[in-house]
Point group: C2
Chain length 315, copies 2
């Protein structure tokens, strides 16, 4: 058995795990990223913690077959980070080379959502499929496209940025500054935004009661829970989100024709009330040939997708 | 030098060429497809013509390194045709096996638009690029996506069916039966349809004069020619087509992040009046990172893209 270190570099915390080539995590821990200390200090601390985890699991750290790191930003050629979202680190750093210099272990990087897609594709809900697209539905909408086991990373590391696919010309403004993005409609933020705008004019519903009128605390989960409980107001919002989700996923089916669509992230936890709706509406958007045998499933790796996926870069 | 036969199987005519591995065509000819005679008879005649062309160019036919065939329909695993558009041939035939049995030469198939994309990518406007998407703008809109030199064919052969990406929810009806498809707006048919609907209420323009009121004979070229000559009415229609073209291409850039977009087909012949407009409008739809260093160019292979592309499957 070969062993790898999987690293999920986050804005606040960084998760590190020692993982076998079968995807089983032997041991894991989370440390503060403290990016303000500089890239070299953070990378050195990540390596020190990796060595400690190796010792804990009786794996000689010099026998590690690779270190895979998921990055919150675009990655080119699995080596260079175009820029870090919310880190005070410079652009276009060859972080793989830096980590290799510190650790003497072969290192590969990928964008964090692409890493989740690789994890789900090789060890999770996509296991056994040749071509799978992971749609990560959280605060934003991200994506990772795996074709014949290989990621579509893009020439500037922006492959799989499906959240900024435009679904409405000159539509709702998105965090990216452009308009009509998939993310502006189908992310948790997009769904909450639609609910808030409807609650402003309609307070006679279970959702408003549930949150006791504290609209600023509304979460996507509240909406899905009320819809499951039969609240018509919330059911309509789920319909709205499902429509755009089906339109976005339908476009991916027509362009890539994958075997599987894997929904991950917080919104995906809504489960069947969302998935069944999307499956039904997909018939309006995806060519019939792309739906034959295609499955939409929930991701299965949860919080482990990041560290498992980063070692999938080596396998 | 290794030599290949490239075959572009069409509804009426089939083009056949003998081509070197450098993409140079030694000799070529076109024969009637006569699909009503049955798949075996047509394939046998294609092989007989291939042998004759080999003799003509002094290449022993038993030294051919491969036969590549472009197919008007979805192709799975470069072997099996899902169905033939407008051919009385049965579905799911292993045409590669059949041709190999007849010719004793290794045979590979691909969808015809995917073949054009491979041709442009390896020998034409995409030469030297790692990742290029060909957007074929004709009666419909087709596409072929080449990532790191490999086609995204799709699990059911429907990879690259970009013409059915939805740009408008519940939008204009498309030939496929669904609504709001890219093709319904940006194909020659879509552009003509928009012009016709505008001409019904506005006849005071250069375009109406040029076609002498024979609206049923209107071609996309008339619209582009009048726009180039300064006709405001036609300029507006080019604006309309450019907007949807930019939205569709912008989505492809966000999803795949390629190095190059290659426009081929009749509409692409409009040249700069269309391309410059699309380049300008792309800023509203594509993430800035995907535009850096990305070029939109016209295809260069024209009618040879089919036979050149089919041998690119081997290289």
């Amino acid at each position: 058995m070969r062993y790898y270190a999987g690293v999920d570099l986050g804005g606040t915390n960084t998760k590190i795990g020692i993982i076998g080539e079968d995807g089983e995590i032997l041991v894991r821990n989370s440390i503060k990223t403290n990016s303000h200390e500089g890239v070299e200090v953070t990378m050195t601390r990540i390596w020190q913690e990796t060595v400690r985890l190796c010792t804990e699991s009786n794996i000689p750290s010099d026998s590690l077959a690779g270190i895979g790191i998921g990055i919150p930003g675009p990655v080119m050629d699995q080596e260079v980070v175009g820029f870090f979202a919310n880190f005070p680190w410079e652009a276009n750093i060859n972080l793989a080379e830096l980590m290799k210099r510190i650790s003497k272990v072969e290192t590969k990087l990928e964008n964090d959502v692409n890493v989740i897609a690789m994890g789900e594709s090789k060890f999770g809900a996509g296991k056994g499929s040749r071509t799978a697209i992971t749609v990560a539905l959280g605060t934003g909408v991200g994506g990772g496209i795996v074709v014949d086991g290989r990621l579509i990373s893009g020439v500037a590391g922006a492959g799989g940025e499906i959240g900024h696919m435009k679904l409405v010309d000159n539509g709702k403004i998105c965090g990216c500054g452009q308009r009509g993005c998939f993310e502006a409609y189908a992310s948790a933020t997009g769904i909450i935004r639609e609910a808030v705008s409807r609650l402003a004019v309609n307070k006679q519903n279970m959702l408003f009661e549930r949150i006791e009128g504290r609209i600023e605390e509304l979460e996507a989960k509240d909406i899905f829970d009320c819809a499951k409980a039969g609240d018509e107001f919330s059911v309509d919002i789920v319909e709205y989100a499902s429509k755009y989700l089906a339109m976005g996923i339908g476009n991916l089916l027509n362009i890539i024709n994958p075997e599987r669509i894997i929904l991950s992230g917080g919104v995906a936890l809504a489960g069947d009330i969302l998935l069944d709706n999307v499956r039904e509406k997909l018939k309006n958007y995806a060519m019939p040939v792309t739906l034959k045998g295609m499955e939409i499933v929930q991701g299965t790796l949860g919080n482990d997708a990041g560290i498992k996926g980063s070692i999938a870069l080596f396998i």
